[in-house]
Subunit: 196 residues, 2 copies
Amino acid sequence: MSSDGRNTRARILESAVELLESGTGSAVRISDIAKAAGISRQAVYLHFPKRADLLTAATRYLDEKNDVDARLGESRSAPTGLVRLDAWVAVWGNYIPEIYGIGKALMAMMDSDEEARVAWEDRMQAVRHGCAAVVGDLARDGQLVSDLSQEKATDILWMLLSVRNWELLRHECGWTQDQYVEHLKQVARASLVARV
Amino acid sequence: MSSDGRNTRARILESAVELLESGTGSAVRISDIAKAAGISRQAVYLHFPKRADLLTAATRYLDEKNDVDARLGESRSAPTGLVRLDAWVAVWGNYIPEIYGIGKALMAMMDSDEEARVAWEDRMQAVRHGCAAVVGDLARDGQLVSDLSQEKATDILWMLLSVRNWELLRHECGWTQDQYVEHLKQVARASLVARV
DNA sequence: CCCGTTAATTGACACGGTGTAAAGTTGTCA
DNA sequence: TGACAACTTTACACCGTGTCAATTAACGGG
């Protein structure tokens, strides 16, 4: 069973993201994940000593599975700032619904678990920097609305990408993921791009 | 001590909001609140059988303390849609930092406690309706940017007012509450109001 | 003045989820 | 065959929530 080493770890992460995505978020227990992965609860602790370890590992697992880095790289090589904005928003719009369950679980722990707080804030800061880059592109192309500073525009974009928004739009308005992404694009354009 | 009936309840709520605001949010325990209120833990359960009861009561307590209803009423009687937008954003911008601790605590329970979920979503829906009203005013005054539907504009405004945003801007960017409110106003104007 | 009511107190406990610890099992590889 | 690693089972400590029962203190009305 030594070849199962990485296999089991991956199975745990798969089960974790599956449970966290499709449902009750922070109410998912370690034992639920273990059961879904077909192993004992203690085996989970063998791979992830603390709950926060599992959750942060799950975010990285999703990053790799979705090739987020590569896609974000692609988005930056688009021809104009306007297209880069669309691409960036599309990547995040599609990604957020995937991590929102994990995000909820991490946010719920943030107040009591320092490690979870740091992990989540690091993640948020990375998004923020991405927003700043995209807005910088817009400004360089002369497409940013004239009465917005780059800082303010970054904040707007970043607020729009808030994880909570997806959850609320989905639950309260019954939106699909496609609707959400399309909407994000339009809203981002309406907020940031100079009208002709 | 029968006259202490309402007094104790109020003292519990005061201690609760104080602890929840200035600090660790969902990590605040019933016993912490009891200690801060100078009573026993069981006395808290006497007034609020479940944790969710206390939290939802705390939100109502803050509403009344801050006269939120009255202020929102005033904001709607402002002369133009533009001024109404400013007033509405100011009320919520000042209110959100106060309830964000309670919001965090409620959100952390949402997945496991149905009552907490309903309470929070009701609250969010109320905000949403308010946003729709303000946007409707803008549209009636011909001030809404022409390429935005009222629905989309409502979503923008509502995303900007997300409770999470305040926390993140405060922690990651070190913003003060005044900065936040001023920023919200400007962003809302930039996003929604037709430029002349 | 006593009596009933009501709020609060103390102490004990059940429940559930996290995390730890120890001993036993199975499979692999040298 | 023996060492090693992953996983299993069982058991338990810890902590926060919520419940229960017995007790004390204060107030108001008869």
